[in-house]
Every structure is written in structure tokens, then in C-alpha cells.
């Protein structure tokens, strides 16, 4: 087994196309991604010392073990993880930690999800009983669902409020700046054959699409969908025993960070997606020695256009308070100085929740290897991935092309 504190590398990576696949089950998707990642790394399931399996909506069904029964039952430890939209990043991190702890030399992390057409996610109402008599219940002594009566807790509105809070505090941000985020990500997705949607929309079409929760129109919200992604992660010591070709394509994982939301005053009523992201980013920059200005590409959690904009600031991609200017100036476009979501992002590539945090590591890895085809960000050597799930959990990984 590897040395404690050894470097950790991505050896193999893969993702399925994201979309809606009613004829397949979630294990089909997970298996496809896992087998492709193993093949990509030039290894087999028999080389794996640990499996991290991320799936949110079926997290009580032993998805890792179900996956093993399709791709290889070798008796290794499985960690089934569920951590909101940071589920996939958490699966990677369980493998990362096993290697860092010296318990494993190589492991497989798989993120998978089958959501179909799920509609709005968030708080749900309760079924009505026969005779309806108000009875206070729960931690707020409620007699009715608060949804729509005491504001909204559904995702399009929650993230709209996160964006509008940024607009309140910093200015220079309005409907158009938020819409420009979606304009960019839809445009980027046209180059990504694995994206759920690959259609470009004009700013006008985006701003005039059906309003979901102002300022988020339908084209500024990510779709629900199905898909999976997988990565093979390996210790530096083990990597040095592998072939020249395997070593040449390996990508160093220079930081792996997971945070939760610390107590903040306003977060008691509106989730604070900022503080934990800033904390994760700062820790990742410190661990890796990478400066935000060094980044060649970023895959961040654009579940809604309003979310991407605030994360420009949270991830230190722009000057503090300047996120509106950052998008207005075109800096996060693929031909800008810090391309953000060259894959199309969650908005257009899709967001099968458990897969997302693994798929963004696949995406950055693919660019750093120079294998991203039409959507390649030329000469990319350093990238960052970010996911955040409400509750909250945030995962950030820094990836670098380096010599093993």
C-alpha cells in the first residue's frame, strides 16, 4: 500500500452522455462509466482497492454493491455516499482519503443518477388526510406547508434569491448579466457531444423564455436527467510502476476539499452558498499552491445562471464584487481568460445529481490531457472543479498536468 501523504492522481476518467434514458437503469449507466474509466486508465476492477459510489436519490439501496455485481465482486470496501449535489465529489474524496491514509493504492469513484423528468426539486407538500384539522407540527409549529405562503424553498427561487442577494450587496448585476451566463453555457454545449442539450440560444431568447423564478427563466435552469461518470484514482507510488503511456496521461489531483456551511446570520432563512464555497476554494488554493490567475479552465456548479455568477466571486475568479462585469466582459467564455463551464455546465450539459461532481473532474482531466476534441481549451495545464449541494456541502478539486 502507498505511503501516507503520497500524491494522488487521476489515472482514468469517463462519463456517459447525459440525457434521459428510460430504457436503461442507473446501474447500466454506472457500469458504462466505470468500465470505460477502468479501460481508459489501462487497469481492471481487480486493480482497485476501494470503491466510492455516489448516488443521491437511491442512496439507501447499496448502489456500490449493485454496481460490483455487474462489473466485478472483488471484496473491496465500498463507500456508498450521498451528499446532496456534492455527492459525486464526495465519492472521489472517499477514494482520495483512502489513498492518502495509505490504505489503498488505487480506487474507483463512480457517480450515477437516474432522475428522468423530475420537475421542480425542493420542499414538497404533504398528502391531505380525510378530515382536515390544523395541528401544529414540526420545528416551526406549522399548520400548513410554508411553500408559497412564507416565501419559496424550491430550487429555482432559492438560487434566484442567492443571485439577487449578490446584486443587492454589490450592484452591477441584473437580469441581463444573469442571462448572459446561460447564453455562454448553451453556446459552449454545442461543442460537447456528451451534453444533454447542444443548442445555442440568443440572449433575447433566454430572457424571453418562460419565467420560472425571476430572474431565472427556463433556459437559465439546469434540467433533470440521467447519467454517470467515473474516475480511477491512484497513488503517486503506484503510478510510477505503470507504463509510460499511463503516466503521460495521468493528471495530478493537487487538492481535494470538502466543506459544509459554517454558521452565518442570514443563512437561517436563505441558504448561504457563498461562505462554504469561499472556504473550500481558499483551502484548495492553499493546498495546491495554485493561484486563481493560474487557472486555465473551471467547471463550477451552475445549477442556475444566478448561481454561476456568484461563484465567479466565491472562487476568486474576478475582483471582489465584480462578477457582473466579469461576465459582461466575456471573461468566462471559452475564448476568455478564465473559461468557465466549457462543457456547457449543468445548465446545458445536464445535472444527474450523483454524477455531476465526477463528470466535472472528467471534463477538466480531458482538457488537461489535450483530448477534449472540438471543445479543447488549448494548452490547458491547470483546472478547478466545484460543486455545491444545499444543506450544504461543497467539493472543490484542483487538477494539474504534471510529470509523474
Amino acid at each position: 500500500m502507498g505511503d501516507v501523504g503520497d500524491e494522488v492522481w487521476v489515472l482514468g476518467a469517463s462519463m456517459t452522455k447525459f440525457g434521459r434514458f428510460p430504457d436503461r437503469d442507473v446501474i447500466d449507466l454506472g457500469s458504462e462509466a466505470a468500465l470505460a474509466a477502468l479501460a481508459d486508465g489501462g487497469v481492471t476492477i481487480h486493480d482497485m482497492d476501494v470503491l466510492g459510489a455516489g448516488c443521491l436519490f437511491q442512496s439507501d439501496q447499496g448502489m456500490g454493491q449493485q454496481l460490483q455485481k455487474q462489473i466485478g465482486q472483488t471484496g473491496i470496501p465500498v463507500y456508498n455516499v450521498a451528499n446532496a449535489c456534492a455527492t459525486g465529489a464526495t465519492a472521489i474524496r472517499t477514494v482520495y482519503l483512502s489513498i492518502k491514509a495509505g490504505e489503498a493504492d488505487m480506487g474507483l469513484a463512480v457517480g450515477m443518477e437516474q432522475m428522468g423528468k423530475a420537475g421542480l426539486l425542493g420542499g414538497a407538500g404533504k398528502a391531505r388526510s380525510e378530515k382536515h384539522v390544523f395541528e401544529p407540527s414540526g420545528r416551526y409549529g406549522s399548520v400548513l406547508s410554508a411553500e408559497g405562503r412564507l416565501g419559496t424553498g424550491l430550487m429555482p427561487g432559492v438560487f434566484a434569491q442567492a443571485g439577487m442577494e449578490y446584486a443587492y450587496e454589490h450592484g452591477g448585476v441584473g437580469f441581463e448579466e444573469f442571462a448572459r451566463v446561460a447564453e455562454k453555457n448553451h453556446a459552449h454545449s454545442t461543442l460537447n457531444p456528451l451534453a444533454q442539450y447542444q443548442k445555442r440560444f440568443s440572449l433575447d431568447e433566454i430572457m424571453n423564455a418562460d419565467m420560472m423564478a425571476y430572474p431565472n427563466t427556463l433556459l437559465m435552469c439546469c434540467p433533470t436527467g440521467d447519467g454517470a461518470a467515473a474516475v480511477v484514482v491512484v497513488s503517486g507510488e503506484r503510478l510510477r510502476t505503470l507504463s509510460d503511456e499511463q503516466r503521460a496521461r495521468a493528471i495530478r489531483m493537487s487538492a481535494s476539499v470538502l466543506t459544509t456551511d459554517p454558521w452565518t446570520e442570514t443563512a437561517q432563512v436563505q441558504p448561504d452558498v457563498n461562505t462554504l464555497t469561499r472556504n473550500a476554494a481558499d483551502a484548495a488554493y492553499e493546498t495546491s499552491g495554485v493561484d486563481p490567475a493560474d487557472l486555465d479552465l473551471v467547471e463550477l456548479h451552475d445549477c442556475f445562471a444566478t448561481a454561476e455568477l456568484v461563484h465567479y466571486d466565491n472562487l476568486r475568479l474576478c475582483e471582489p464584487g465584480e462578477a457582473g462585469k466579469f461576465i459582461a466582459d466575456g471573461r468566462p467564455w471559452r475564448d476568455g481568460d478564465i473559461p468557465v463551464n466549457a462543457s456547457g455546465g449543468l445548465i446545458s450539459k445536464g445535472h444527474p445529481i450523483g454524477a455531476t461532481g465526477v463528470a466535472n473532474v472528467y471534463e477538466v482531466t480531458t482538457h488537461l490531457r489535450g483530448e477534449a476534441g472540438d471543445r479543447q481549451i488549448e494548452g490547458a495545464t491547470v483546472g478547478l472543479t466545484h460543486v455545491i449541494g444545499l444543506g450544504s456541502a461543497c467539493g472543490v478539486h484542483v487538477l494539474e498536468r504534471a510529470t509523474a
Binding site: 420542499g123 412564507l150 427561487g157 423564478a213
Partner: protein, 129 residues
């Protein structure tokens, strides 16, 4: 419709649990203070005037919820932040703005089969003087 709204014979207001150690405010039943870890709390009456720090205008909602409506985060004068609907205002971006001044009001949110009304709170715009 929630236990942190006190109707108080015509002067409705919100009450929070205030952590004695840290001053953190909560509307829900608490096991401990998420800021300090302390377990001592006291009831604190909150102000009824405030400022909109964020809002969204919801057009696509859960079944049974009338749309469009405005959900807002309000900073209450004297401390505390709360989420609620904006009422007595046109639900469009021309009539709702960040930083607008609002005051707590109440409305009937529903009636059960025995005729008991559930009273909710919302916030209505006020002219700042």
C-alpha cells in the same frame, strides 16, 4: 400558521429564539445554538419593519400555490432576517426592488374543516419617511 408569528391582539410580530451565549436568532425549535454550541435560549420579540435584501418572483410553483408571487428575504430593523411573501405589490420587477422598505402584515393562508383560520405573515411595501 407557524409558532413564531404572535398575533398579540392586533399587533402581530415575530418572535425568535435568541441564544444567550451568542445572540444568534432562530425561528425553529432548537437543540442547541449552531453558532456557539450553547443550550440556553430566551424569547426575543423582533421588529416589524425591514428592508428587502433579496427576492424572487415565482412563476412556476408547487400545485395549489397561486402565481406569480414574490418571495423575499427581509432584514428586520433591530436584528433578525426572515423569509416571506411580499403582499400588496404587483409581482413584477418594476414594482419590487432590492432595498425596498416593508412592514409585516398578516393574511389568511387557509381554513380547516372546523373553520379555524391559519394566519400567515407577509410583508407589504411602505413609504420610507
Amino acid at each position: 400558521m407557524v409558532d413564531y408569528l404572535e398575533l398579540d391582539d392586533g399587533s402581530p410580530h415575530l418572535v425568535a429564539w435568541e441564544a444567550v451565549d451568542s445572540g444568534a436568532l432562530y425561528f425553529d425549535r432548537r437543540n442547541a445554538d449552531a453558532k456557539s454550541g450553547g443550550t440556553e435560549f430566551r424569547r426575543r420579540r423582533l421588529g416589524i419593519d425591514g428592508t428587502v435584501r433579496s427576492f424572487t418572483i415565482v412563476h412556476r410553483a408547487a400545485p395549489g400555490v397561486a402565481t406569480p408571487y414574490v418571495s423575499a428575504i427581509v432584514d428586520l430593523d433591530g436584528g433578525g432576517h426572515v423569509k416571506g411573501n411580499l403582499v400588496d405589490v404587483e409581482p413584477d420587477p418594476d414594482h419590487v426592488s432590492l432595498g425596498m422598505r416593508v412592514r409585516l402584515t398578516t393574511f389568511v393562508a387557509g381554513t380547516d374543516d372546523e373553520g379555524t383560520e391559519a394566519i400567515a405573515f407577509g410583508f407589504a411595501p411602505v413609504e420610507d419617511t
